[in-house]
Symmetry: C2
Subunit: 338 residues, 2 copies
């Protein structure tokens, strides 16, 4: 049972662009003189009764939506329900230019396969998310091995409807933090890059919990870019990008934790998922070291190192997601944020 | 306060299509030999404690998503919360090929402006939804006259990510009815056409409540197509389509009610919204007559005729939406379905 004080949805942020020409009632279906709205995020929020002090704002990853945090592919509670039951207000977003926030003032990149239909990528997604080597699951993987679970997993994606822009997404997410007040930011995968940039634009990020950040650049101060970490398949190697030191130092102002799951290789291999995430986790360690060298409080937890095995890229949906949620909440308690 | 027994989300229905060629680990980002998933609906459901017997399944209209039924543009409760508070389980969907159900096995029609970004249509949408004659609201309109409300209205749309297909959507919606069990179907606008086709594929539609159906064809039995109802602006005239009599007669098996709001013209005019909806409502009357001639129980309520004024095309979000919800619930009670 979940008792809500309230729930609702709204659009946050966004821009407009107006077409050349003059609007005419006779040609009212034509674009001339009309304005396009776009680039906002869609937000669905739920506040339980007697909510804890700090809400949690959830930022999904690439080609995903707020579904990331909802019911798991095998039909159990996801982080939305788990954290509501723990007493947190939850804010789930569809980032600008995806899902129910599909309006964009810039068309999608025609070269981006994740901005088109049909999206032929079942094997790519299965392997990059470290379910296994298609069609075989890894032996210890925390995923239910039935056809409907895998069907739900494959249907959880949704294409971009506009150009990908992490800085735009971060600015809009910061507007949500300004509206909601001091809150905890939880990111997944490519949402990590949006998360690192959010404190550049708002003071209200009390902590960042990043589940397997990767797939977009980690940020480093100017002149502190680390060496790259090659992968067997070059396009999926971890990326890094310079930002001004002044901006980077915002990330030293709050506690940050990064979690990575299992089946990540310890050395180069031709198994795609384990190899890609070897590169990402190694870059993430350099990111954490750099934050701490500048006075911050970041840490990285590789779950097998603390005895938690079998997690995929979707830790929040894995069979042990309650355990992962408890781990996260214990960390929040240690930071006096629970 | 809303006390939920449970809530969750899932994908329902859908198809797959596999690309030519053979998948290769070395070219794992290429489409060859990979399968695309798509054409499912996204479903978010909430069950209050002690839920009423029949859930309500909500089908949105064109270029919309489940947002239609959520918080209103001026920040009040929408039908989602209103009917939860009344004790109904609510199922909100994003129909196939839009919103969080963006994956499609067929690309969108390149000629459809509502399947592209940027979408230059603020004046079109304002007027077709009968808020007024852009930028002036109709004098009696049930819409808050402030900039943020209109901003939220304009940001409530989202583009199609695949080809529009009412029959596909109806089949998927019918799969949801088969999964959930006997339920009440509520449709809006272009969702009406999906709604009329849903009972062709399931026995579980206990009633249909259609808010301003239009924008896609009303169905009629073969050889019973009515004459068209011209509009000043031909592209927005009401449409009608033949279906086999055997299918049409499914619509005689459950009570059906259609609601239309205010500022619908009684004769041809060059004011776009009122003229378009004059055509749609006239066609809707013929649809209702045809259902009843074949032994059904359909009715059409033009709200000003019963003393309710100022409603736009978005009756479920208008300032008097609680009154509209009560009207609908009273009708359900009369049908012994509440």
């Amino acid at each position: 049972m979940i008792t809500l004080e309230t729930q609702g949805s709204f659009a946050i942020g966004g821009t407009t662009v107006t077409h050349d020409g003059e609007f005419s009632m006779q040609r009212f279906l034509e674009p001339e003189g009309q304005t396009a709205y776009g680039d906002h995020a869609y937000v669905f929020y739920q506040k339980p009764v007697n909510a804890r002090k700090f809400p949690i704002i959830f930022q999904h990853g690439g080609a995903q939506s707020k579904r990331t945090w909802e019911t798991t592919p095998d039909g159990r509670d996801g982080f939305q329900n788990i954290f509501l039951r723990k007493g947190y207000s939850v804010y789930l977003i569809d980032q600008p230019r995806i899902g129910e926030a599909g309006l964009s003032t810039e068309a999608a990149d025609a070269q981006n396969p994740y901005a088109q239909n049909p999206l032929y990528a079942d094997k790519t997604l299965f392997m990059l998310c470290r379910l296994g080597v298609f069609p075989e699951l890894f032996p210890n993987v925390q995923v239910a091995n039935d056809a409907e679970t895998l069907n739900q997993f494959q249907r959880s994606w949704t294409p971009y409807t506009g150009k990908l822009d992490d800085n735009l997404c971060a600015k809009v997410l910061a507007q949500l933090f300004d509206k909601v007040g001091e809150s905890i930011l939880v990111t997944h995968s490519m949402g990590g890059s949006i998360g690192w940039r959010t404190p550049f634009h708002t003071k209200n990020v009390k902590a960042i919990v990043a589940f397997e950040p990767g797939g977009t650049p980690f940020v480093f101060p100017e002149n502190e870019l680390p060496e790259s970490i090659p992968t067997t398949y070059a396009p999926v190697a971890a990326q890094a990008e310079e930002v001004p030191l002044e901006k980077f130092k915002k990330l030293t102002q709050m506690p940050i934790i990064l979690y990575y799951g299992d089946n990540i290789a310890s050395k180069q291999t031709n198994v795609i998922g384990p190899d890609k995430w070897r590169s990402e986790m190694a870059m993430a360690r350099k990111f954490v070291e750099t934050i701490n060298r500048h006075g911050g409080r970041a840490e990285l937890v590789h779950l097998p190192d603390i005895g938690i095995f079998g997690n995929t890229h979707f830790l929040m949906s894995d069979l042990n997601n309650e355990e992962i949620a408890n781990l996260m909440e214990n960390w929040l308690k240690q930071q006096n944020l629970a």
